[in-house]
């Protein structure tokens, strides 16, 4: 069962239109909310006039930001509805609740807000300049988590420091030093399912929320914490989620739905973004500016790295603090560097606020690091893969946060690089002129990632049985498209030696009855929930054996479970069917023993620690998945356009649990990385208003623009993981932006250190033009 390409459990629902997502749950009598958003990026709110809107037929309430608690996961800096001032274009200033969406929209258009525009901040470097407008004047007084370090009087929400080794020694040992700077603006996840949440508050205070979310259990906790609600009375349902990629990990619309329901006496209210709001009002993919300085010996051994990441966290810190911390954790890329200095800042700007984006800070930092490695190779005149191979992280080395690596907690990067070299026929050519106009080029990159989640994040699983002996598998992992719940069924099928068709997976989440899985993020679903399922299976097996021991008059130690039976190890012809004991066993005379059998299990990651404030020392995650990537492009020297011909990834996955599902995860992530790198960005005007918040002007890769994908796996097991499997949901993305930029830099013969790689950017960089006109 392990490794087989089992089709996903919800496959037929998804190809017949039966699969239900949050917005598909329509109810007669449900009210609809419309968000009124700010047209300014930074402005003081003078007055909000709601009278006209309030008189529109069907309008039941208008909610504004006054008197609401501040929210935010690491730092409480965000009013759920803007109060006093707005800090980004698209920020919510009012919520209109009406009988129908049409009425709510009509009323929303009649709300008049008087703004006084303020100077806006358009990039992290701008935000850090002396005299830059302060986005949060009150930063000193915000409630903050123990491991968030805002710097009041500045626009710095958080700074993670990595101090490892001795920089002076590192520079002294370096013969060659290279330094480069990088930049890209925020962009979007653009999940096809627009974010949506409904809320109702019952007479007894029970709060029922339905949300399109990666973090239903966090919604429950945060509504309890922010609004002083009894957390046991908050019930969150999450059905199938239509794509998330990190963008549905933050909690935002759920708070608005709760507030809206509260304003109408607890009636059920649906809050549903428009696509335009989903792109800018809800959290976005983080932007970044960076400067990387690397020193190495003449024969190519890296001795020192000084890294500055300035992340564009946008107007509020929320999850961005975590993202910038994760980027610092793996700041060097998968290379052995003894002397490391890194500052990773979460900087406030007047951009939409950032949330996790698949790879959680890693494709962003890898773009900076891997471009620098290429520049270094060019300067040293060393083969680019050879330079990476020489410095590849290996067991015995330490990470930037000083975790000692071993053969279990890190994958085999040298093997990935070696396989990639063959796969893309690197040694045959790296740049060829096809004709006077067309050139082909290859670019490579490497990546690594661990998870940076709460040190006490846990996962639970429950198994119940049906009268026919089949099993119901209940896990808190949200099915966001990754197929994790099907992989969990495979893990259980292997463990119970049971047909996969006899394992029924509960797809939706109900926080009242589903055991908690912290959040469905960070490529940790299979590891943590998989361990919880194995533990639940062990629990069920123990109980099955205990009752079968009575029935079969044998010691439990002599029994085995499998194939729907509990049988004697040395004589399988003596057995009792599972179906006869999972609801208690009834003897022929009517007497009964046992009762309903419920297997339960949980898993919590071991020995994780927060990072030291001054040095960054600490253990953020259990293992590092490593990967090597390549992109081959065909570039037109005359008009600067290009085609992505091939994209390759070799990933140390630990163990393949479901081959096609794993390939799908990697290829999908690669596609997203190439789309981001080649064409996705928000375009801002000089007042930091977004000009392209729709899928017509913000244009992800479409069918036919996709390259040929090549994916291979290396298998170095992580000993603690279910069957050795490492996290793999994000890793296909990590090196794509860098590999594409490396390939295009070679093709165009100019260093390309910004994203996205629009033909215009290449032209501008090549021609040295400051502005986009001839």
């Amino acid at each position: 069962m392990i490794g087989k390409s089992v089709i996903r459990k919800e496959a037929w629902d998804k190809v017949t239109g039966r699969a239900k997502y949050t917005h598909d749950y329509f109810e007669v009598g449900m009210l609809h909310a419309k968000l009124v958003t700010s047209p300014y990026a930074h402005a003081r709110i003078r007055e909000i006039h709601t009278e006209k809107a309030g008189s529109v037929p069907g309008v039941r309430a208008i909610v504004t930001g006054e008197g609401l608690p501040l929210t935010g996961e690491d730092l409480r800096d965000r009013p759920p509805i803007a109060f006093d001032k707005v800090r980004y274009h698209g920020e919510v200033v009012a919520v209109v609740v009406a009988d129908t969406l049409v009425q709510a929209e009509k009323a929303a258009n009649l709300i008049h807000v008087a703004y006084e525009p303020l100077p806006s901040v358009g990039s992290p470097r701008e935000a850090l300049q002396e005299g830059a407008p302060l986005i949060h004047e009150n930063l000193a007084n915000y409630q903050k988590g123990k491991y968030s370090y805002p710097e009041p009087g500045t626009n710095i929400a958080h700074r993670t420091k990595i101090r490892k080794g001795n920089m002076e020694k590192g520079w002294a040992e370096s013969d060659v030093v290279i330094e480069a700077s990088f930049a890209f603006a925020p962009s979007d996840h653009a999940a096809l399912e627009i974010r949506c949440a409904t809320a109702e508050i019952r007479q007894d205070g029970t709060i029922v929320i339905i949300a399109s979310s990666q973090a239903p259990f966090m919604i429950k906790r945060l509504i309890g914490e922010y609004f002083g609600e009894d957390v046991g009375k908050v019930i969150v349902h999450t059905p199938l989620v239509g794509g998330a990629y990190g963008g549905k990990a933050p909690v935002q619309l759920e708070l608005l739905a709760y507030l809206a329901s509260k304003a109408v006496g607890g009636r059920k209210v649906s809050v549903w973004n428009t696509r335009e709001q989903d792109m800018i009002t809800s959290p976005v993919h983080i932007g970044m500016e960076a400067t990387v300085k690397i020193g190495c010996t003449a024969d190519g051994y890296i001795k020192a790295a000084e890294i500055l990441f300035l992340f564009d966290g946008g107007a509020y810190s929320d999850k961005a603090i975590d993202v910038t911390r994760a980027a610092a954790v793996d700041c060097t890329g998968p290379y052995h560097i003894e002397n490391v200095w890194c500052d990773s800042l979460c900087v406030y700007t007047n951009h939409p606020y950032a949330s996790p984006f698949r790879s959680f800070g890693h494709c962003e930092q890898a773009f900076a690091i891997e471009r620098t490695i290429d520049l270094l190779a060019e300067k040293l005149n060393i083969d680019k893969l050879e330079l990476r191979m020489k410095n590849a992280i290996r067991p015995g080395h330490t990470t930037p946060t000083q975790v000692v690596l071993n053969r279990s907690n890190v994958g085999n990067l040298p093997a990935c690089i070696a396989r990639l070299r063959e796969l893309i026929q690197w040694d045959e050519w790296q740049r060829i002129e096809i004709n006077s106009r067309t050139v082909r080029a290859k670019g490579v990159s490497c990546g690594w990632k661990t998870s940076t989640i709460d040190t006490d994040a846990s996962s639970g699983a429950i198994l119940t049985f049906n009268p026919d002996g089949s099993v119901n598998l209940i896990s808190g992992v949200v099915e966001i498209g990754t197929g994790t719940k099907t992989v969990l069924a495979q893990i259980l099928s292997e463990k119970l030696k049971m047909d996969i068709d006899d394992i029924h997976v509960k797809m939706d989440i109900d926080t009242q009855t589903t055991p908690e899985h912290w959040k469905t993020v960070s490529s940790r679903g299979t590891f943590m929930a998989g361990r919880a399922v194995l533990s639940a299976a062990d629990d069920a097996i123990r109980q099955l054996k205990a009752i079968a021991a009575c029935v079969l008059r044998a010691s439990a130690e002599d029994l085995e479970v499998g194939y729907g039976k509990v049988f004697l190890r040395d004589d399988p012809s003596i057995y009792v069917p599972i179906k006869d004991i999972v609801y208690g066993y009834k003897y022929p005379n009517g007497n009964a023993i046992g009762g309903q059998l419920i297997g339960r299990g949980h898993y919590i990651l071991r020995h994780l620690t927060p990072l030291d404030k001054e040095t960054g020392a600490g253990k953020p995650g259990p293992e590092w998945t490593v990967c090597a990537h390549a992109v081959e492009i065909e570039f037109d020297k005359r008009d600067y356009t290009y085609q992505i011909i091939k994209a390759a990834s070799v990933i140390d996955i630990g163990k393949v649990l479901n081959r096609r599902a794993a390939l799908g995860q990697v290829m999908g992530a690669m596609s997203m990385g190439l789309s981001f790198a080649s064409r996705e960005t928000f375009l801002f005007d000089r007042y930091e208003r977004i000009l392209n918040a729709q899928l017509r002007t913000y244009r992800p890769i479409r069918f036919g623009e996709h390259p040929e994908y090549m994916v291979e796996f290396i298998e170095t097991p992580q000993i603690d993981a279910p069957y050795g499997a490492r996290g793999v949901g994000e890793h296909g993305l990590i090196g794509m932006p860098a590999a594409l930029a490396n390939a295009l830099s070679v093709a165009a013969e100019v260093p390309l250190n910004e994203l996205p790689l629009f033909p215009e950017l290449i032209w501008r960089t090549k021609e040295g033009k400051q502005y986009g006109s001839i």
Binding site: I7, K14, V15, A191, E193, R275, Q665, M667, Y709
Partner: protein, 155 residues
């Protein structure tokens, strides 16, 4: 607000519904007929998640008023039952979250019916109107081509 009676024929069943003249076909299918297979993704004709067949032609139902579709045969994803393209999508792992899938399937279904000899250019021309954010599109390409190839085997 003027409402009118509209006769819709969806998946070979006729329905008489009362709707605003401004209501889109997508809104009516979902909220009045409970056919939630067609998905809202942008309400702007950009993403294709709401694609249905009207008179056998793929139409973005967010861009068509319900009254425009009156008395024309409409096929939604709920009207496809165990078709080769649905099986191919499953076999080729051509979806993950499944949100774009109904639109892609309807479009690909019509493509394979109308252009059994479709070349790469035709396939792209048809399918570039839909966005998938989970897969790499390579899986969808394989699914569509496997159905086209099978059609030829049967010829």
């Amino acid at each position: 607000m003027i409402k009118c009676e509209i006769l819709l024929t969806v998946n070979e069943e006729s329905h008489s519904i009362i709707a605003r003249q401004a209501d889109t076909l997508l809104f009516v299918l979902r909220n009045q007929l409970g056919l939630t297979g067609a998905k809202p993704g942008c309400l702007n004709g950009d993403c294709g998640a709401c694609t249905v067949l009207v008179d056998k032609t793929p139409i973005k139902s967010c861009m068509m008023l319900a009254i425009e579709a009156a008395e024309k045969p409409i096929t939604t994803i709920e009207g496809l039952c165990d078709t080769p393209i649905q099986r191919a999508f499953i076999e080729q792992f051509a979806f993950q979250c499944g949100y774009c899938t109904p639109g892609f399937l309807i479009n690909a279904y019509a493509l394979t019916k109308q252009h059994p000899d479709a070349d790469d250019e035709t396939i792209q021309e048809w399918l570039e109107s839909n966005i998938c954010r989970c897969t790499s599109y390579q899986e969808i390409e394989q699914a569509v081509k496997s159905v086209l190839a099978k059609k030829h085997e049967n010829d």
